[in-house]
Symmetry: C2
Subunit: 363 residues, 2 copies
């Protein structure tokens, strides 16, 4: 029996039907001319959702976390000072990943639920090689101001995590001064998990590690398969691309761009606003700081005396609704409700509010 | 328009229909109890196809090449002597990957098309930390004797690449003394590319690098999500698993084990034997050394005066048949014809032989 779920957690979300159908299309080889066309178009559409002209914009063949690793492993030279803004789990993870690459990490810690304090991050070190921050913290539901970091970065490279922002809220990598960005497919892009949309500008690429510790994520080598050499018809084999997943991403991006990227952003904003208003009307308290709340991922405090896990189990068993637990220290005191991609729509808002009311007895 | 292909190259192969259908099933979250059941069953079925009891047997969330990286990045301590048997492109790649992990690499070079010379490999160094070899060289169509390496490895760990052997020919990781093995889904397992079936034994796990350079492929951390801690109901989040791909692998493995693993091996053998006999009847010469030819992947020399790429293009355009070019120095002098997974059957043999006869004018 196939169980259908409403995936209203922090991701994956329910894919767009176009993306699901594309997964089941006849498979193409990774060097087939037809697949290479799909790959090239995918990279071009990724440039649009990233807001970049970077030639090196591509889907890495692994999930968003591998995108984070690719960002650091290709840019951190041993001993480089890397300033990381830590305002949640994924900022924390950046410090671990950067340290494994040999960075001298300067972690700028924030209270969870708060946005990145741009001034503190920019003044944390005189001349960092890299500044890194999360645009949309999946662990807390908070948006931070990447543009302000880009404006003040000086000579440093700026690495931005856009896993939960891409395709859901405004993202303008070039205008904001993002040098390296990584994302995931399974949230606002409305595609199954398995690829990491990635972009790197010329300045970062020129400063890159020539022989990074990772062969799989070596952007210098990947450029022969997807990038400028490939554009000149000189593709070289690096690894077997996950062709079904790329075809699915192609279909999801096509759907988004047909709807219009700004319309899709507006749809996420409207769904998030309605959800957050509805939760507050129920007497629940939001977790993320006001003014920095992500529309696509809402964090809400579990009411005093309520068993967080039991509520999630009830939602799943009664209605096939998945919502997320909190992250880290907030595992049992916060819920995370995502309305991302296909789920960013009014009927999903109604459903999740009605189901929560029922299970909490607040109907 | 959707183009259908006969994927008779070195991979990906056409997936089993069950595996394709599973890709399009409703998506599950990576922490959904239903998905965790699918993941656990997948790991259990992977144990069967690997021929292992290793608790740490799982699908890594990236393609086979990332499996290679995981094998080395988790086992190579800086300065470790790693003896690599190089009899093709993937042995060569192992030397690159191991060196990036800080290994002192001892490469034992072979003529391409020949199997690994076990004696030379075992005597290449007095006390290597690791010995590594490719079971089925995708670049040359050659099978090597992993069991003999295992029998003579002494205290070294044995790393085996089973990307093109798993699910196609006999593979008995435990009996053969394989300490770490990695594979791909897109060849004899008959599933789309995107995951790396991986196994590591206790001896290798105990000697592992405690904080490997890769966060994404850190087996110590992955063990909390899939492995002994998970088995005790204490799953921890590491990264978002590619749930659609795992569901597809589950379906492919189910299909294989229902048919019976040894029957599937026999089916690959019969298809390969028939193909190789047919090619020789056409007057073509096989490339791989006699006695070491893989049934699932046949290498054949391009006849004198024939334009290798033009033939492949004709096959693709006229009949939707993909066969592979040769690898490395043999790019235009060898073809690689794979009959893997679903394609290991008599009608595929007839079709590829008839099409080659037509295009080569040898009908």
């Amino acid at each position: 029996m196939i169980r259908e779920r409403h995936l209203f957690g922090p991701g994956p979300s329910n894919p767009y039907p176009e993306a699901t159908r594309a997964l089941a299309q006849p498979l193409l080889g990774h060097l087939d001319p037809e697949f290479l066309r799909i790959m090239d178009e995918t990279c071009e559409m990724l440039r649009t959702v990233w807001g970049t002209d970077n030639a090196r914009t591509l889907p890495l063949s692994a999930t968003g976390s591998a995108g984070m690793e690719a960002a650091f492993v290709n840019t951190v030279h041993p001993g480089d000072v890397v300033v990381v803004a830590v305002n949640g789990l994924f900022g924390q993870r950046m410090t671990d990943v950067a340290a494994r690459c040999g960075a001298e990490v300067v972690a700028v810690e924030h209270e969870w639920g708060q946005p990145v304090d741009v001034d503190r991050v920019l003044s944390a070190h005189d001349s960092p090689a890299i500044i890194a921050a999360v645009h949309a913290e999946t662990s807390t539901g908070v948006r931070s101001d990447i543009a302000a970091l880009g404006a003040g970065k000086g000579d440093a490279l700026l690495i931005a995590d856009a896993v939960t922002s891409i395709g859901g809220i405004e993202l303008r990598a070039d205008d904001w001064g993002v040098d390296v960005g990584y994302a995931g497919t399974q949230k606002c892009l409305g595609v199954a998990p398995g690829l990491a949309p990635f972009t790197i500008g010329d300045r970062a690429f020129e400063r890159r590690v020539q022989k990074p510790r990772s062969w799989y994520l070596d952007l210098g080598m990947l450029g022969g398969y997807v990038g400028e050499a490939a554009g000149k018809g000189q593709r070289t084999y690096h690894h077997t691309a996950p062709t079904a997943m790329v075809a699915s991403l192609h279909a999801g991006l096509t759907r988004i761009l047909e709807e219009g990227l700004e319309s899709v952003w507006a749809r996420h904003q409207a769904a998030g606003d309605a959800l957050q208003a509805g939760l507050q009307e129920m007497g629940l308290e939001l977790f993320a700081a006001e003014g920095s709340r992500l529309p696509e991922l809402t964090t809400v405090k579990v009411p005093e005396g309520v068993d967080s896990a039991a509520v999630r189990r009830e939602l799943l068993e009664r209605h096939g609704i998945e919502i997320g637990a909190g992250a880290g220290a907030y595992a049992s005191s916060v819920w995370r409700i995502g309305l991302m991609g296909r789920n960013a729509r009014p009927d999903a808002v109604l459903l999740v509010l009605a189901a929560l009311k029922e299970v909490l007895g607040r109907g």
